[in-house]
Subunit: 344 residues, 2 copies
Amino acid sequence: MAPRSGTRPFSQKTITDVAQRAGVSISTVSRVINQSAPVSSNLENKVKAAIAELDYRPQTAARALAGQKTHTIGLLLAEIGTDFYPLMIRAIEAEARKNHFNLLINVAGDDTSIEGEIPYTLGEYNSDGVLVFPASLSDDELYRMHLNNFPVVLVQRRPPAGLEFPCITIENKLPARKMVDHLIEVHGFRRIAFLSGLADHEDARRREQGYHESLESHGIPYDPTIVAQGYFQKQASQDAVCEWITAGFEFDAIFACDDISAIGALSALNRAGLNVPNDVAVVGFDDIEVSRFLSPPLTTVKVPIQEIGRAAIQQLLAFMNGEVPDMCTHFETELVIRRSCGCR
Amino acid sequence: MAPRSGTRPFSQKTITDVAQRAGVSISTVSRVINQSAPVSSNLENKVKAAIAELDYRPQTAARALAGQKTHTIGLLLAEIGTDFYPLMIRAIEAEARKNHFNLLINVAGDDTSIEGEIPYTLGEYNSDGVLVFPASLSDDELYRMHLNNFPVVLVQRRPPAGLEFPCITIENKLPARKMVDHLIEVHGFRRIAFLSGLADHEDARRREQGYHESLESHGIPYDPTIVAQGYFQKQASQDAVCEWITAGFEFDAIFACDDISAIGALSALNRAGLNVPNDVAVVGFDDIEVSRFLSPPLTTVKVPIQEIGRAAIQQLLAFMNGEVPDMCTHFETELVIRRSCGCR
DNA sequence: AACGCTTTCGAAAGCGCTTTCATAGCATAC
DNA sequence: GTATGCTATGAAAGCGCTTTCGAAAGCGTT
């Protein structure tokens, strides 16, 4: 009966089955599913009944091929293990599903791609648009997508020179500066260490600038011995701070360029028997979920993670619909003073 | 030239373009791409050159439709915001991509599904198999998939009665019991509080059983006043412990059924000015990434999160290939003694 | 009753691929 | 030289949908 049966080990209902059962043509079934054209309520009910009885669901591949849209949004991340993304992805997923889009996830970096093979990532051949996070996609690929007029929204990242993509950014420099100002002005610290992020991460660079500017405006000389790379990683940050301690470097506060690094710093201090904030103050950036539950609760900068995710999808959807998206959606961030800086 | 051109705002190369450029038929191109049949090296090189020149990538939708497989694996989660999943997903993603599969992610719970609409989740119509996590899919849906012989692997969850699915499980009861034993035998605690997880989470239930068994075997009466629901959430756990404290309940240790809850407990204790482990010991379960960086480092049970993820994909792939998968892959877990229990 | 107009529906084409099937080409055996 | 078996290749069918197009049906008007 079914030609080529058995290619799939499991049976699949098709639109033809539904049409037969409802006594209509497949066009009509398609129309009630997609509400793409008026159907008399009589037939509509019959079709709906048939769909329910068969528990029919359209095959997305066939839909995508015929309709020339995949109903899928791609997510290009560099790293998912970090504690920053889960909340973001959750917001993105919710927003995508609300708009009836699927989410395809791709973590760059763990590169298993073999030379000569067709690259196996995300793009116009498997999604209608992608959200690109920092360090996940080369400028070359971005350029290619731009040429193809493929919808891309950059998150926490600005387009490379010459390309125009909508992007979602946050305020980094000013709050970083304010944070260091706070350390200096309110608490009187002068020896403020810094844990930097990744070199190709724009947010991290801007936060570092804020650190520099604050020091400078207070006449505090920049001391590279108490600046280290935290790489957005707990372990690396902990190691760096441990080294400072064993080397005997003096510092009365640490500004970590993200909360992950701050956690590493906290841990190093704790191991060394140093009290936070009495012996050394620690502050971070991002306000990830765990930060307010740390001991002591972390003073940090609140980044509206979920709003960013939601905005990213909304901009992408607008782009995909041919609307003109905001080329730059900028979110403000604000200091959250808790106890790790010495307040209270 | 191209009929219906412009349905997509961006141009797409097709296999026909490649074939023309290489001067061969599309069958040959397909064979080169999929290595599904021998092609003379002469033509193979021409085709590969044409693919490279055009930067061609096959459309997944057409591939899926013609080949009757989507090359996509679905992930059905109840919650992605928890700190447990990122590492798991990362391992899953890496393993999936190594096998040339895409990952479609679906977070249940934030249910936007409208009555009467076709449910918009994962299944045989958009993936070749799914990984089902606890609390993400109803038994009814599982039953339906089983009927359709659709490949499913359950992670941290056993199949409902009557259904056979491969599943990945971990050892819960014994290590939980050992953990409480440790608290009692090594540290001499008798008043051990418990933060439970979600009722429909098997791991959580088994951990609770281990807690009960340990108490019982040491002749310690079960006291429900110092048992509360932590819901795998930091905030809920913190609230619960705060309540115990303000109510004046006595306890010298807290066994949290996962590390997230332990973090909430730690936070509550810290806020109340109580020292861990001197005033109250805290232990958890899972050994999530942050646990060793807490102050103090958390004594917990190490769950091989990444191995679980890898095994889940491997079992699913085996299942999808028609091989007989192990119906139950069981992972051992081990106590990780750090400082929050009072050791050292 | 005949006409035009609108609305509803089905037939059929086609989306870009995989795969079957037939054939052309070639080497080997008689 | 013909019969035989193999391999490499192309033509064409078809995967399950969406969408166009034309026909049929309904309806109001003359």
